[in-house]
């Protein structure tokens, strides 16, 4: 018989939704997160931003998107929380850009950290829903 001492873990991914006035860019992202681009720990948020960009699966510009299509139909509906659907509908009404994607726990340690964190942040340019944390 073998006895395993330690932990059994599983991997996961968590959804994120970003709604922005402008095209998503690093300067606006840093401003939203509240960190100076010259911060000594900027690399943490540099990597986070790169992971967001690389893991964006669906991007819709509601200013130019077909107005006849129900807002959430552009996305995989079963992956969206009711809160995300509400925010996507608001984005459509206001003609904003929406970015949906997933972060993965079995990637780099920085992405894994943000994947397992739970947050919602907003300023006058960007709304970021990182609430879909199932851990």
């Amino acid at each position: 018989m073998k006895i395993r001492a330690g932990f059994v873990t599983n991997s996961s991914s968590t959804s994120f939704l970003i709604v922005a006035k402008n095209d998503l860019n690093k300067a606006d992202f840093f401003d939203l997160m509240g960190i100076d681009m010259n911060s000594p720990i900027a690399d943490l948020f540099d990597q986070f931003y790169s992971d967001i960009v690389a893991n964006t699966e669906t991007q819709v510009d509601f200013k130019t998107a077909n107005k006849g299509v129900v807002a959430e139909r552009w996305f995989e509906r079963d992956r969206l929380s009711e809160h995300m659907v509400k925010k996507i509908r608001e984005a459509k009404e206001r003609g904003l850009k929406a970015y949906y994607g997933r972060l993965h726990s079995e990637s780099n340690p920085i992405q894994a950290f943000f994947c397992t964190d739970c947050f919602e942040v907003e300023n006058d340019k960007i709304y970021f829903d990182g609430l879909e944390n199932v851990w």
Partner: protein, 132 residues
């Protein structure tokens, strides 16, 4: 001085002994990090500061107040009480007189688990460059 090592506990987690010349206040920590206090980054850095300065064990004080009689040397205290590897306990002993605080930090921030990255990241926020 930051001394990284793998703990010999069940999880074999990466840990650090932070040998510091004194307390870094929360306000100074936030300023060093160049983050806004009421922001996501600010909360993250505040949480890291709390984890280091509020929730971690300060080894010098712990040894001096509670274990000085039980363990003849600081190195013995580290080796026998916390199962520090001998070379790490020796290294910590070298810094005993030179450091005001010696904090045993076992981070729960996954991005600090990488030795090199974690060491570098903590160094940027904790190691004194110029006057506080």
């Amino acid at each position: 001085m930051i001394i990284p090592f793998a703990s010999r506990d069940l999880l074999s987690r990466h840990s650090f002994v932070l040998c510091l010349p004194g307390l870094v206040t929360r306000a100074h920590f936030l300023r060093r990090a160049k983050v806004k206090p009421d922001s996501y980054a600010g909360e993250l850095v505040t949480s890291l500061h709390d984890a280091i300065f509020r929730h971690s064990l300060e080894l010098k004080r712990d040894y001096g107040e509670y274990y000085r009689l039980e363990y003849e040397t600081f190195g013995e205290y580290l080796k026998r009480r916390f199962l520090f590897p001998p070379e790490i306990a020796d290294k910590c002993s070298e810094h005993f007189q030179r450091s005001e605080l010696m904090i045993y930090f076992q981070p729960h921030f996954y991005f600090l688990e990488d030795f090199e990255y974690g060491n570098n990241f903590l160094g940027k926020l904790l190691e004194r460059k110029g006057k506080q």
